[in-house]
Amino acid sequence: MKKYILIIAITLAGINVHAQEKGSGMLQLNYHMAMPTSDFKDFLDEPSFRGFSADYRYYAADKFAVGLQSGYHVFSHKYPRDTYYFDNGAATLVQWRYVHVVPIIAVAHYDLLAEDSKLQVSAGLGMGAYYVREEAWIGLYTLTAEQWGFGLAPEVMLRYNFNDRFGMLFSPRYEVVFGGERANLADEKNNLAYWDFRFGAYFKL
């Protein structure tokens, strides 16, 4: 089975298509799935299946693109009724927790395979501003914390060109927003970090 997959991959990579040359552009529309990691899991430890983004990339040089990305994803989970003990008391309640994330970041990518390859792999880095709003819904009350923070998003992207104008992509990346506040009863400040898996379509311009 592995042999066939390898043969197919090499064949696809060898088919020539319209190359991403200097001066060309690309518009991407993506669906996101994400998984909290690190300290983020202390606030909300559930994967997110609600996210989308749009990217525009401009090839400043052959194989090297820069661009902008923005989008939205939301993490959410209902925590069943439980008792939480603190220093001189306790609370029994149901919680709904939400984290809304809107990145507005600059991205830079370098294509690792040949310019005219049908299957393309690129490595890149995004950095910029992230709007993060955390909510904890408790009974008839809502605790919120919102902020703009600086974030980084290193990523690898696999693209498959169907023709010279359209293709599909898959892109795993790790996103970190520094110094976030938590919308819970504890006065904590932690980074917001999560794995982000993008599935999308792109259109060459």
């Binding site: 669906y31 609600r50 989308f52 008792t83 306790a90 609370a91 029994t92 309640l93 009974g139 379509a201």
Partner: protein
């Protein structure tokens, strides 16, 4: 290879299905009214609860009104609340006595009620959709928008039960009474049947005492 619009349509539909068509994001109509109940307790860590064995309790739970001219009046489930507090105190090992028997603790229970009003924009359903359909048939976009969305004033009423214990023994008239334990129960009063409301009140009072094992008589 040719460009296939149908494939993109399928992709868009799939993304919409996975991304948007799942469960509702915020608490919705499937949320049970008891999910919104909160039980909180707070106690004085410096107080020696182990010395207590007896308590007295108020005869009824009165409502605290923001208008101080109103005379305190007992709440609808006053007897039920008092009985449930007494049952929990007995389970912890306390003996109920009268005020004139110098009890170790004095238990007081009060309640508040609050109605909140808010405006939401809602969509017409049912027969209203016929109006929307007529508007669409007439081609009136403005009429369509006016028909489909309109503001509605909604309200909900919540109630809060406040239970307090004071270290009472050997206090004289005029002395400052030290509150050593507070239990607060908060939840919706409307949107529920009377039977379920009584069940919620009892279970919430039980939760407050379950949170407080330090009250147990040694």
């Amino acid at each position: 290879m040719t460009f296939k619009p149908k494939f993109i349509l399928f992709l868009s539909a799939a993304l919409a299905l996975f991304g948007i068509g799942g469960c509702n994001l915020y608490p919705d109509s499937e949320t049970r009214v008891e999910d919104l109940d909160i039980t909180l307790t707070h106690y004085d860590k410096e107080n020696d609860f182990m010395q207590n064995q007896t308590y007295s309790i108020v005869d009824e739970v009165v409502e605290i009104d923001s208008d101080t001219n109103n005379a305190p009046s007992p709440v609808a489930n006053s007897d039920l609340i008092i009985q449930q507090i007494e049952a929990n105190m007995a389970a912890l090992g306390y003996t109920k006595v009268n005020d004139n028997q110098d009890p170790d603790l004095r238990v007081v229970a009060t309640a508040t009620e609050n109605t909140q009003y808010f405006i939401i924009t809602t969509m017409i359903t049912g027969i209203g959709m016929v109006v929307v359909g007529m508007a669409m048939a007439a081609g009136g976009v403005l009429l369509l928008l006016l028909s489909a969305c309109y503001p509605v004033v909604e309200s909900y009423t919540s109630g809060t039960l406040i239970m307090q214990m004071a270290q009472y023994k050997d206090t004289a008239p005029g002395d400052t009474i030290k509150m050593v334990w507070t239990g607060v129960v908060n939840g919706l009063l409307d949107e529920d049947t009377q039977a379920n409301l009584k069940t919620r009140i009892k279970s919430s009072i039980d939760e407050a005492f379950e949170q407080s094992p330090y009250l147990k008589v040694e």
